[in-house]
Amino acid sequence: MKKICALLCTFAACVLARADAPVAPVKPVAMQPYAEAIEHTDLSIEMLPIPGGTFQMGSPSTEAEHKDDEGPQAEVTVSPFWMGKYEVTWDQYDCWSEQLDQRRRKMMSVDATQRDVLVDGISKPTEPYTDMSFGMGKGDYPAICMTQHAARTFCQWLSAKTGHYYRLPTEAEWEHAARAGTTTAYSFGDDPELLDDHAWYDDNSDDEYHEVGKKQPNPWGLYDMHGNVAEWVLDQYDPTFFADHPKSVDPLNVPKTLYPRVVRGGGWDDSPDILRSAAREGSSDEWKDQDPQLPRSIWYHTDALGVGFRVVRPYQEPTAEERAAKWDKCDPLQIDQD
């Protein structure tokens, strides 16, 4: 009888043992894939474990299409984390930007929990003047046209919403995850002729993005790391940052200026060389050229139709101090014009 109870406790972490029953010792759980449900919606975000490790960041000068800012290669170590299996979709993104979760909660006459109050305190984008999907589709298509600030704020919201710490990946984490243990130009080898099976890019995208997860995943199960949409990371773009910081652990080039910041992986509107695991791209104010308003919005890159993001969750959650000093640090402060 006691044995059965212990077994039950092992299988069901949330079972409250009776006071007189022995409690099974809690063992650290190995990292598992999981789906983070978004309360008050039908949505969840699928997360995959990414092992920590040391890898050669950048590309050798012998790699076809190698660019100066990809070398010399640097030995970089990153700690384990979970990463979104897919790019953040419009459905997930709109949940924050248009408060669809809270609207539904109110329509269902469900009282606000402590978590809903927290979520309410996170800023959200000003209402756009236009359909930011530019007619290419919403739902399971990747969210686009957001500034890095908007992507960071989404992560803040997701953290408040779920109680787990989510953020953008660092540039090093992104490349580590994209390579998935490979050293070739792409995670499937060096031959761009094979791209069609793995990525949406300028030659096969039909001039628009596609629903996430329609091509083959990389060796670690991540979809669309090459192509579909380029993905925001936390870092300021600096062509020599990794070469200047050899043998670093969990490097992050904390932003000090608004431009350029880094997107990785290339998008539906890019050529194969931009999709390589080592290729780097910096943002610019021209990504707001179409915005007919001045001052231009802190939330939208009206011209970055091939830019989105995915989220990560570090295995070892940083303290509030560590977050303020490094992971969430970002200048200049972005303030909405009223």
Partner: protein
């Protein structure tokens, strides 16, 4: 800072080159009034779009141009506009607006225009309810004008604007209306092709602007921190007397470009719409509108407008002809990516024409065209077109808000002026529309109130 190259950057660059090429106009003789050829600009209405328009204006590079005065009813708008423009890396040097030329209040428009000489340009970018007031003064001062769309919000002011405009034409003033799609080179070529019969007779057009919450269309109650008049102006898309609401402000471009391709204004409209998710919002808008316009030859224009989060989004206009179809605009206003097809399904292999990409930005082109006309002294007046686009849009809105069929002839004779004393407002006075004791505003009641849009 060296940027990594990407196709995104390449496209942007080629786009700029293309745009720059269209902006280089032949050296024009200096016929500009005054002692020098500098065109001076005053901005009346320092919201986001007005500031953007000033930026477009100062970016025209065919002679000296300078911003010399600002006017608004909110100090914070004056401050933020001045900061954004004077600090702009490309045109900051063309901003010469010391504090004594920043004017505050409902008569600020006069003071700002008083800084200009005949032949200079005033940008009218306040909510459109004020347009006829400001335009009248601009004509009196002999100024060239750029006015944002819409240019009217109801029938009486539409008739008034057409009347006022006669003096502007008489004085040979150059007057532009911010329906920038009319300046899009792709749509222009498409118009020519449609008129020459490439897709046969146009039987149907469809226009969509379906998005989530947009701009200030949904307005939360005034929390008491400011007078009702200020609260309404700050949230002007929510109130018909100021903006004509979501229909006028958001749908006018797609309605106008569709009518342009048909080369006619519709004769009547019926419409449906309603308020589903209102929560505690107090504005006068519906969440969704579906307008059916009918042209003299029986052809239809269907317009869907929606500001409900989480639903299908579309922001485009289409033309259907007896021999083919056209995509007038693809998504948002620019790039339009206008193209024609020989079938009704608009399948890729049936595409017969597409405007080459990248295309120049019409927000820039509308200014290039206006300043060119000023420097070369060519007749230039877009007001009648702008008024008709505004009136046709209001007619559709009225059909939805009253639940009645509205003909254009009947609309133009309608006597409900939303804000008859808009030229006499004061900062501490009442608004033309005041809330009841519960803080609620009068809203449309289709079928119950049929002869005006709200009581």
């Amino acid at each position: 800072m060296t940027q990594p190259n990407s196709r995104r950057e390449f496209l942007k660059t080629t786009g700029r080159v293309a745009a720059a090429t269209t902006m280089i106009s032949a050296a024009a003789p200096n016929v500009h009034a005054g002692e020098d050829s500098t065109i001076r600009i005053a901005l009346v209405g320092c919201g986001g779009r007005g500031t953007g328009a000033a930026l477009n204006a100062l970016s025209v590079d065919n002679g000296p141009i300078q911003l010399v005065a600002l006017a608004d009813v909110f100090q914070r708008n004056l401050d933020s506009t001045y900061a954004a423009l004077s600090g702009h890396n490309k045109i900051g040097a063309k901003v010469d607006v010391p504090d004594e030329r920043k004017f505050l209040g409902f008569d600020a428009y006069r003071q700002a225009m008083d800084q200009l000489r005949p032949g200079d340009v005033v940008i009218l970018a306040t909510p459109p309810g004020f347009r006829w007031v400001h335009y009248s003064y601009a004509i009196e001062k002999g100024l060239n004008v750029f006015m944002e769309k819409p240019v009217t919000v109801d029938a009486p002011t539409s008739v008034r604007m057409l009347e006022i405009n006669k003096q502007a034409i008489e004085k040979n003033l150059k007057v532009a209306v911010g329906l920038m799609c009319r300046h899009c080179r792709g749509r222009m070529e498409m118009f020519d092709r449609i008129q020459s019969g490439e897709i046969g007779d146009i039987h149907m057009l469809r226009a969509y602007r379906m998005a989530g919450k947009t701009a200030s269309a949904a307005v939360e109650p005034n929390d008491g921190s400011m007078p009702h008049l200020h609260h309404q102006i700050k949230n002007f898309h929510g109130f018909l007397w100021l903006s004509g609401g979501a229909v006028s402000d958001f749908l006018i471009h797609n309605i106008d470009e569709s009518c342009w391709m048909k080369n006619a204004w519709p004769e009547k409209a019926i419409a449906i719409g309603g308020r589903h998710y209102r929560e505690n919002c107090v504005d006068q808008n519906f969440d969704n509108y579906a307008i059916e316009y009918t042209f003299a030859d029986g052809a239809k224009l269907f317009v869907d407008g929606r500001t409900v989060p989480g639903c299908k989004q579309e922001f485009a206009s289409f033309a259907h002809g007896t021999k083919g179809t056209g995509i007038i605009s693809t998504a948002s206003h620019t790039p339009a990516k206008s193209r024609l097809f020989s079938d009704q399904a608009m399948t890729k292999d049936k595409m017969t024409w597409a405007f080459p990409q990248p295309e120049p930005n019409p927000y820039d082109l509308e200014w290039v065209d206006l300043i060119d006309a000023i420097r070369e002294d060519r007749p230039y007046n877009e007001v009648e077109r702008g008024v008709m686009a505004s009136a046709v849009t209001s007619m559709g809105r009225m059909a939805a808000h009253t639940g009645q069929e509205i003909t254009l002839a009947k609309f133009m004779k309608h006597d409900h002026e939303f804000a008859p004393n808009i030229d006499k407002l004061t900062m501490d006075g009442d608004s033309p529309l005041m809330p009841n004791d519960k803080g609620l505003y009068s809203i449309p009641m289709p079928g119950l109130v049929k002869n005006r849009e709200y009581l």
